[in-house]
Amino acid sequence: MNDKKNKRILMMIIVFMILVLLLLCGALVFGVRHANKTHQTTFSNFLAARRARGILPVTEDDLVRSWMTFDYINQLFGLPQNYLKSALSISDTRYPKLSLSEFEESVSTTSAAFIQNVREAISSYSTTTSQ
């Protein structure tokens, strides 16, 4: 009797897990479609993304995030090592091995405002070099 009850409970758990699995598969399909629509990662854009290896054009500055270090941003956009240091008047000795979020904390500025400043500095780099 008890064994029968245990088996029934086990079966109910298995059915529940299958439902969770179906939900996750649905979420996967939705996630991929959502990525396609919002981030334009269709096949043609995907190929463009593949070409985006190495140095990125400065127009891609919306990819800048607060967890990135200055060193990484310099590498990503092909900027000279001290360009951001002078453009943003950074005096922290840890530069360039310093993340944007750490720098924001040290100078008590808001994240969104500082990231915007970094993006503008990156965008203006092409203007500076083309002149």
Partner: protein, 193 residues
């Protein structure tokens, strides 16, 4: 992106391979960090020339295997004295789980490498259950060799747009976890019959 992953990525960008090794090692020993998503990011960094694919792969693979060995040795040495008297004797399920891992060591260790949260648990059960080290290490090496490569390759392919795919990676990990649990439950259900 959550604060925890952001902090891991900053740490990774500052200290590179030693940071990668430490994060993956700690994750294999005890704390299940979001390693798959982090390795996708490492693959993307490699595609941008900031990391090397080969060095990243071997650092992560070695850290995973050494983490598994450390966890196994710790639980083999101290597991029984810490757990047995207090918990294991009280709960019959614990004994059944120990027996299950003992009789299916290789496949269990291999499969658990693909589901971050299961790795430390299976390491504990293997150490505690004192399964044969050769079988444990074989499962660990083969599982980690495959599990470490796919997120790095995915990150390398999608490059700078890796963040668009991070939620998809999380869902895939969850699907693998649910599949593994369901498979084990179905097996138990038919064994009882």
């Amino acid at each position: 992106m959550n604060f925890f992953l952001s902090s891991l990525l900053s740490f990774l960008l500052v200290y590179k391979y030693p940071a990668l090794f430490i994060i993956v090692f700690v994750s294999a020993v005890a704390i299940p960090f979001p390693i798959d998503t982090m390795l996708v990011a490492v693959g993307a960094f490699a595609s941008q020339g900031y990391f090397s694919v080969t060095v990243s792969y071997f650092a992560a693979f070695l850290a995973n295997v050494l983490g598994d060995i450390t966890s196994y040795v710790i639980w083999k040495r101290y597991g029984r004295s810490i757990i047995r008297e207090k918990y294991a004797k009280k709960y019959r399920f614990f004994g059944q789980l120990e027996q299950y891992v003992k009789s299916h060591t290789g496949p269990t260790v291999f499969a658990s490498r693909f589901v971050g949260i299961f790795g430390p648990i299976v390491n504990f059960l293997c150490g505690y259950g004192r399964v044969r080290f050769e079988i444990f290490i074989l499962g660990s090496i083969s599982g980690n060799a495959i599990d470490t490569v796919w997120p790095i390759v995915l990150g390398y392919i999608v490059g700078s747009y890796w963040e668009n795919f991070s939620s998809v990676v999380d869902i895939c990990s969850a699907i693998i976890a649910v599949l593994a649990i369901t498979g084990a439950l179905v097996r138990i259900y038919f064994q009882k019959k």
